[in-house]
């Protein structure tokens, strides 16, 4: 990241302890202005605590937090130019949708007519025109999500924080909202800091991802960097799935000592005795399991000399029998081949 541009959000050696538990452990983070930045991790990894620290709902035990260069470490939420979309939306149940959206301007003392106009404009942005008179309880989950977004965006924050905003939606709505969020972010050009535990969501939406594990950032990078070049075993296993080759297995098939990540889709399945492409790593073994999953199939191969390797292959078969052959396939000898470039050496993590 070029250093000329000042960071929209900057965490410097931030730690948050709850009693004996270290929820966020010495985290350094710089989010560039206008970036779609995702904090990815399993529950309890510290990503939500991190977001709450940025919003000001919680104060760090140590470290500094800066927003656009200004130190806000000790500032309350209402003195930070960030807004949050909450996981449970946190819409005010006693106010109408329009009043919810106009809450920020109302607090700032914007005149009634003006804030009504602003709210209507925001509702239009999230495609909820005309619903301003309803109560939040009369809306569907997806609509509430949009109201929460409009309510946050009406304040024109320079940074928008989103805490698993799509978690409560069903898959289809979720994918639709993913696309819309991304589109809105690009249109208004503000920084998004997005928390999710869904690695696919993180990969498809983000400019950059920070992978959290046990309060620390294991790896930070673009989606492709995080996926193709996982730095640790945790990242390799949490972002997508991976084969971890180590010890004797690594020495035998890769010819090197160490721990390596090998993505399942990088491995080709060949008939025994077939010629593998020149320079490729090869391994032999017996097919133990075949899981047919429509678009692709997943093969589990027991390697000769111990260990297993999982690979997925696009399903190119034209008939049901070819795509998902009966039990006869099991135990048959196979030859596996992959470009050695796909062997990603892993750090300790």
């Amino acid at each position: 990241m070029p250093e000329v541009k000042e960071a929209a959000v900057e965490l410097e050696r931030v730690t948050r302890r709850f009693g004996d538990v270290v929820a966020v452990d010495n985290v350094d983070l710089r989010v560039a202005d206008g970036e779609f930045f995702t904090l990815l991790g399993p529950s309890g990894s510290g990503k939500t605590t991190c977001l709450r620290l940025i919003a000001g709902f919680d104060l760090p035990s140590a470290g500094r937090i800066r927003l656009h260069g200004a130190d806000v470490t000790d500032r309350p939420p209402y003195e930070r130019n960030v807004n949050t979309v909450f996981q449970d939306y946190a819409l005010f149940p006693h106010l109408t949708v329009g009043e919810n959206v106009a809450y920020g301007p109302m607090i700032r003392g914007v005149a009634r007519d003006e804030r009504r106009r602003l709210a209507e404009e925001m509702l239009a942005l999230v495609e909820l025109s005309g619903l301003g008179g309803r109560k939040p309880s009369e809306l569907s989950g997806g609509q509430r999500q949009r109201v929460a977004l409009a309510r946050a965006l009406i304040n024109r924050p320079r940074v928008l924080l989103l805490d698993e905003p799509l978690g409560a939606l069903d898959l289809q709505l979720r994918q639709q909202m993913q696309a819309e969020l991304k589109a809105i972010q690009q249109r208004i050009g503000i920084t998004f800091v997005f928390v999710t535990h869904d690695q696919e969501e993180a990969l498809t939406m983000s400019d950059r991802i920070a992978v959290f594990h046990r309060g620390r950032i294991e790896q930070m990078g673009t989606p492709a960097e995080v996926y193709e070049e996982p730095a640790t075993e945790f990242v390799a296993g949490f972002v997508g799935t991976s084969n971890i080759l180590r010890g004797e297995v690594a020495r035998r098939w890769i010819g090197r000592d160490g721990v390596f990540s090998l993505r399942p889709e990088k491995v080709q399945l060949l008939a025994p005795g077939a010629a593998a492409p020149a320079g490729f790593c090869t391994a032999t073994g017996r097919l133990r399991e075949l899981v047919y999953a429509g678009m692709m199939s997943r093969y589990t191969v027991e390697l000769d000399g111990g260990g297993t390797l999982v690979l997925v292959a696009q399903n190119l078969a034209a008939s049901a029998r070819d795509a998902a052959p009966a039990g006869a396939e099991h135990g048959r000898s196979v030859l596996l081949a992959w470009d050695p470039a796909h062997n990603r050496p892993l750090g300790a993590g």
Binding site: A55, G56, F57, P76, P77, Y78, V82, N83, T84, F86, Q87, D88, A90, L91, F92, P93, H94, Y103, G104, M106, I107, R108, R151, A152, N155
Partner: protein
């Protein structure tokens, strides 16, 4: 046998419901509503003042009696007291409930709960008499006043019309204090329950949208908890309206509604007027509940 019966009932949910709800509904219908209806009918009879007999003919004359100067005073005195007690209870209860919900450690909250409900476990009559002692001329309040140099102030206060009396233990102020004490838990608990139900994320959202704590309290906390305040006030208001023990222990000859009812149906045998008197708090409460319903107060009950 039992299993067969269970299956039989399972297939006939209406019958099961009737068996379950029958007894309580019957009790409610006959004992509660029946008594209420009898009361209502009584209030439309009148007393023949020469014979002392109740005349069983429907008339509005008894209600007319209610609007004589003396009786109207009783009604206004009682309603005014109920309103004052309710207001003071709300003002006292809110900060405590707020502290319990948002500030207190779970341990401290438990102790506070105990402190609030503990008095309810002892006899209410005993507690009212305890107040008689506290408020009497030789009681701790007078002693405190004398030793803090506010004895003169107390004298002046007691000399005032309406709130005063010969001593605190025989004054409207004393009645007010005792009422406030006995009904306060009924105000704290609903408010605390309402505060407990306010999602923390709403308060955070308000702050996040730029509202300082005062604005959050005004625009989010208070509107969401107001139904709880109304629920509590229904208790304190109606309990004060109907009570006759506190004013008879701590009051003078100025009656409250409860005492008037007691006197009319007991000593003078004027059951119609006693009945008409009881209709007054019922009417007031009815109007109050109607008003309260508009605020959504019953969600918090």
């Amino acid at each position: 046998m039992l299993a067969q019966f269970s299956t039989y009932l399972y297939r006939r949910p209406r019958l099961a419901l009737a068996l379950l709800l029958g007894p309580p509904l019957l009790w409610l219908g006959v004992a509660y509503l029946g008594a209420l209806a009898a009361l209502l009918v009584q209030s439309f009879f009148s007393l023949d003042h020469f014979t002392g007999q109740v005349v069983h003919r429907l008339t509005l004359a008894t209600y007319g009696d209610l609007f004589t100067r003396a009786n109207l005073d009783i009604v206004l005195r009682t309603a005014g007291m109920a309103a004052a007690v309710t207001l003071a209870a709300a003002v006292l209860a809110f900060p405590l409930a707020y502290y319990m919900t948002f500030r207190a450690t779970p341990r401290a909250r438990g102790w506070l709960y105990l402190a609030i409900v503990l008095p309810l476990w002892s006899s209410y009559l005993v507690r009212v008499y305890a107040w008689k002692l506290l408020l009497s001329k030789e009681g701790i309040l007078s002693w405190l006043a004398a030793h803090t140099g506010t004895g003169g102030l107390l004298e002046h206060w007691l000399a005032l019309p309406l709130v005063g009396g010969p001593s605190l233990s025989i004054s409207t102020t004393g009645i007010f204090l005792a009422f406030l004490y006995v009904w306060l838990p009924y105000m704290i608990l609903p408010i605390q329950a309402a505060l407990e139900r306010v999602p923390r994320s709403l308060l955070e959202a308000s702050g996040d949208l730029g509202a300082p704590p005062r604005a959050t309290f005004l625009h989010v906390t208070l509107p969401l908890v107001f139904p709880g305040v109304v629920a509590g006030s229904i208790f304190t208001f109606s309990l004060t309206l109907g009570d006759f023990i506190v004013p008879s222990v701590l009051g003078n000859s100025s009656y409250f509604i409860g005492q008037a009812v007691l006197a009319h149906q007991g000593t003078s045998g004027n059951i119609p007027l006693a009945a008409a008197f009881t209709v007054v708090p019922m009417t007031i409460m009815g109007l109050y509940l109607l008003l309260a319903r508009k605020t959504g107060a019953f969600d918090a009950l």
